[in-house]
C-alpha cells in the first residue's frame, strides 16, 4: 500500500497519521494485506453469495408505536449529561463553516 493510499484511508476513517506512525503502520498493514491476499486462491464452486443478513429467514419488524419511558422529555437528560460540550439542550461542535 502506498503512503498516499494510507492517507486517503485515514481520512475516510476519521483518523490522522503522524509521520512517525506512518512507516510502522504501513509495514504492518502491508503484511496483513499480503496475508489477506491468500483469499484469492479460494475459488468457490457455488456462486451463491448470501450475506449474513440472510441467515435468518423469518421477518423481524417492530410495531410502529412509542414505548413509554424509552424517550421523550423524561428520559433524555441523562443522555445529554454525557455530552462533552453542551448548550441548553443542544450538543455543541465547533462551527462547520
Amino acid at each position: 500500500m502506498e503512503s498516499k493510499e494510507l492517507n486517503v484511508t485515514a481520512e475516510l476513517a476519521g483518523l490522522t497519521i503522524s509521520s512517525e506512525e506512518a512507516e510502522q503502520l504501513q509495514t504492518e498493514i502491508e503484511r496483513i494485506l499480503d496475508y489477506f491476499n491468500l483469499m484469492q486462491n479460494f475459488d468457490s464452486v457455488t456462486d451463491s453469495k448470501p450475506t449474513p443478513q440472510e441467515m435468518q429467514t423469518v421477518n423481524r419488524l417492530r410495531t410502529d408505536s412509542e414505548v413509554p419511558g424509552e424517550s421523550g422529555p423524561d428520559r433524555p437528560d441523562s443522555l445529554l449529561d454525557n455530552a462533552p460540550e453542551r448548550e441548553d439542550r443542544f450538543f455543541v461542535v465547533p462551527n462547520v463553516l
Partner: protein, 500 residues
Amino acid sequence: MSMKEGKQTGAGRPGYEIYIGLEIHIQLLTRTKAFCSCRAGYGDEPNTNVCPVCLGYPGVLPALNEEAVKQAYLVAAALNCQSAALTSFDRKNYFYPDMPKNYQISQFYRPIGTGGYIDYPVDSGIRKVRIHDVHLEEDAGKMIHAGDVSLIDYNRAGTPLLEIVTEPDIKSGEQAEAFLRYFRSFVRYLSVCNGNMEEGSLRCDANISLNRPGAGLGRKVELKNMNSSRFVRLALEHEVERQSGLLDAGETVAQETRLWNENRDATILMRKKEAAHDYRYFPEPDLPAFYPDEKFLGQVKQQLVELPLERRLRLQQEYGLSIEAAAYLTIERETADFFEAVLKVLQGGAEGFAATVYNWLNGDVMKELNNRNLSLGNSPLSPKRLADLLLLLEEGRIHGKIAKKVLSLIFERDRDPEFLIADEGFEQISDDNSLRKLIEKVCSDNPEALKQARAGEKKVLGYLIGQVMKSSGGRAEPQRTRNLLAEIIDADEEKEEKAR
C-alpha cells in the same frame, strides 16, 4: 424571473439536449422513527425525542419499523416499480456531526423498489419519468450554525426517509417544477408524506447534464439546497444557461456539486468531485433481510388509491369537467373525495351539478376555509350539508345571496342548512299574498317613486324592488317580486286611466 422568461430560457438553447434527474427524499408519516421507538415528531424541544439508539450510543442496535417498510412498498407499487421479494439495508459511511453513528442506514444493493415510472401532467399534456429506484433510509439531525459553534438537535435523527431516484428523463426546469408539484400531490394521496418542501418534509436534489443531440449524457452537475419547486426550476434554468455558455465557449463542464443561492439567483460551487468521496457501502449486519409475504403485500395493495392524475382524467370524463376544474379538484385527495361525496348525495342530478359544486368549492367554500384556517377534513361543512344547501337553492327555497349567508352560518354554528334557514327565517317569500303585502307597503311609503315609475322611469322600478328586498330581509323571491310590482304599477295606471 417570471414563468414566461423561464420558458424563453429553456427554449433559448436549441443546440443542446438536456438531461435532468431528481433525487427526492420524503419524510414518511410514521409515529416512530425508522429504527427506534422515539417519536417521529417535529417542532418539539431539541433533543427530547432521542434515545440511546438514535443517539448512536455504544452497544445499541436498530429495530426496523414495520410501518416505514409498508409505506415504502406502497410508494414503490404506486410508482409502478418492481417490488423487492427480498430487501435489505446497507451502511453508507461518512463522517458528519449531524449523523450519530457516522454511517447512515440506507439501501444500496437491494432497494425496496426498482425500475418504475410515473406519469405527470405538464402544460395540459402528460409526460413520463422513469424511476431508477426507491429506497428506505434514516434522516440525520439538524444543525444550527451560531457564530463559533454549531448546535446539534438529534430529534430528527433516525426518522424514516424514502428516497426516490428518477432517470434523467426531465428536459427543462419547467418540467421539473411541474413534476414536483404533481409528486407532492402524489405522496399526499398515498398518505405517506405531507409534502412540505419549505419545511423539508419533501426535499429535492437535481442532477443535470447538457450535450449535443445524440451524444448521450454529458458531465453531471448535482444541485442542492432548493427548498421549493420554484427554486428547483430556477436553479435548473440557471444551470442550463451556465453550462450551455461554457459549452458554447468550447469549455468543459466540471463534475461538481453546486448549491442554489436564492439571494443571488444563481448556483454556486459547493465541492468538486473528490476521489476521497467513497461511501464504502456494505450490508448492515444488524438487520436481517426482509421478505414481504402475501399478507404484507395484501395490506400494501389495500392502501393503493386512485392517483391524482388518474382521478383527474376520470373526473373530466365522468362529469364533463374542464381540465382546470378537474385539476383543481384533484390536487388534494380530500377535495376530490369531498367533491364526489357531494355529487353522491345529489345522486340523479349529479352531472348537472358537477360544475356548480366545483364553483362552490373553488369559490365561497375555499374562502370560508381560508378565513377560518380550516381544511375540508376538519371543517363543519360536510358533503351532505353542501349538497343540501345546493338543493335548497335549486328548489328555489332560498336564493343565491342567502345561500352564501347560510354557508357562513354552517361554519359559524356547525348546524344543518335546513335548521339554519328555519332558525333565521331565511326561507324565500314566494307566495303572492305575502309579496303583495310587502309591495303595497313599499308603494305607500314611497309615493314619489311610485309616481315616477308610473311615468315609465325604468330605474325607479329597480329602486322599488330593492326596497321590497330590503324590507323582506332579502327573502322576497326576486323574479316574482319584479312581476308582481310591475302588475301593481300597471294595475294602478289602468285604475287611474279609468278614473280619468
